[in-house]
Amino acid sequence: MTYANNLHPQQGEKMVFDANPVLNERVTHYCPGCHHGIAHRLVSEVLHELGVADKTILVAAVGCSTFTYDYFNVDSVEAPHGRACAVATGVRRARPEAVVFTYQGDGDMAAIGMAESLHAANRGEKITTVFINNTVYGMTGGQMAPTTLIGQKTTTTRHGRNFSNEGGPIRLTEIMAGLQGVAYAARCALDSVKHVRKAKKAVRLAFDVQLDGLGFGFVELLAGCPTNWHMDPIAANKHIATDMIPIFPLGVFKDVKET
């Protein structure tokens, strides 16, 4: 794709916001208003700022985020459904000099790959996981995920999730924070500019613990899925602020550098 030359700063101008070279120019396949694009940009900006993109290996998950490897200019491996943390373990042990991260959704990580994810975290594998929590299985049409809110209607909970039938939403960051191998666990949201800026700091810290060899870095990002929530993108952002954040409180739950 070619862009006009008005994309360069002209005389007396300073570039305030530019794309970074770790994220390529391909237009993403995500729906309008999907927060995956913001999460991609945050991760790519962090990799660019750390200057480690050349030795980074991305382990892609299954779900909407499967095609992550199309958008990052880093080497990548596609893992079987849910097994991204297990594959990342192997990659990191075989290539100790590499920076390894997985990018997983909630259906992939919290349902199908719960065992692999928790055990990789518990072993303190020196990898980073970016966990996108949008409370539904996005790619397959909006089925209930383990993180689905109580009362939320999905294609497999037609009358809303009911605690006595389906249980409650799993708060994965709190679980991760309780494991010894985890060096950093935080939850951020992507619904407002303020939260996006905070999320970038959290992603940065999750990579820092890996680079320092301290253990598993984990960051959960609350994201919107306007298509499967049957909302427009602006209403989806409000839904994150009013309904999701009270259930999934934001904050840093563990940081070995602080303690």
Binding site: M1, L7, G12, E13, K14, F17, V27, P32, G33, G37
Partner: protein, 75 residues
């Protein structure tokens, strides 16, 4: 006093930029890109805070802050 460039072929018309703009100078333009999404337009004085670009899921916005004279832009 700032110049904002919208890469219209990247825009998916989600309007998150319109919602977060603190100056409320972004609006739907009535024009559509080749994918069929309605792109945004800007009219008014931009402070160059880049809130729209930070919120854009498709990195379709570039922001330039000008020092001194107002930069001319045709969008």
């Amino acid at each position: 006093m700032s110049r904002v460039v919208f890469l219209e072929e990247r825009c998916k018309g989600c309007r998150l930029c319109v919602e977060v703009c603190p100056m409320n100078i972004l609006r739907a333009s009535g024009r559509f890109n080749r994918h069929g999404y309605e792109v945004v337009a800007m009219d008014g004085k931009c402070t160059g805070c880049a809130s729209c670009a930070v919120m854009c899921p498709d990195t379709a916005i570039r922001v330039f802050k000008s020092s001194g004279r107002t930069a001319a832009h045709e969008y």
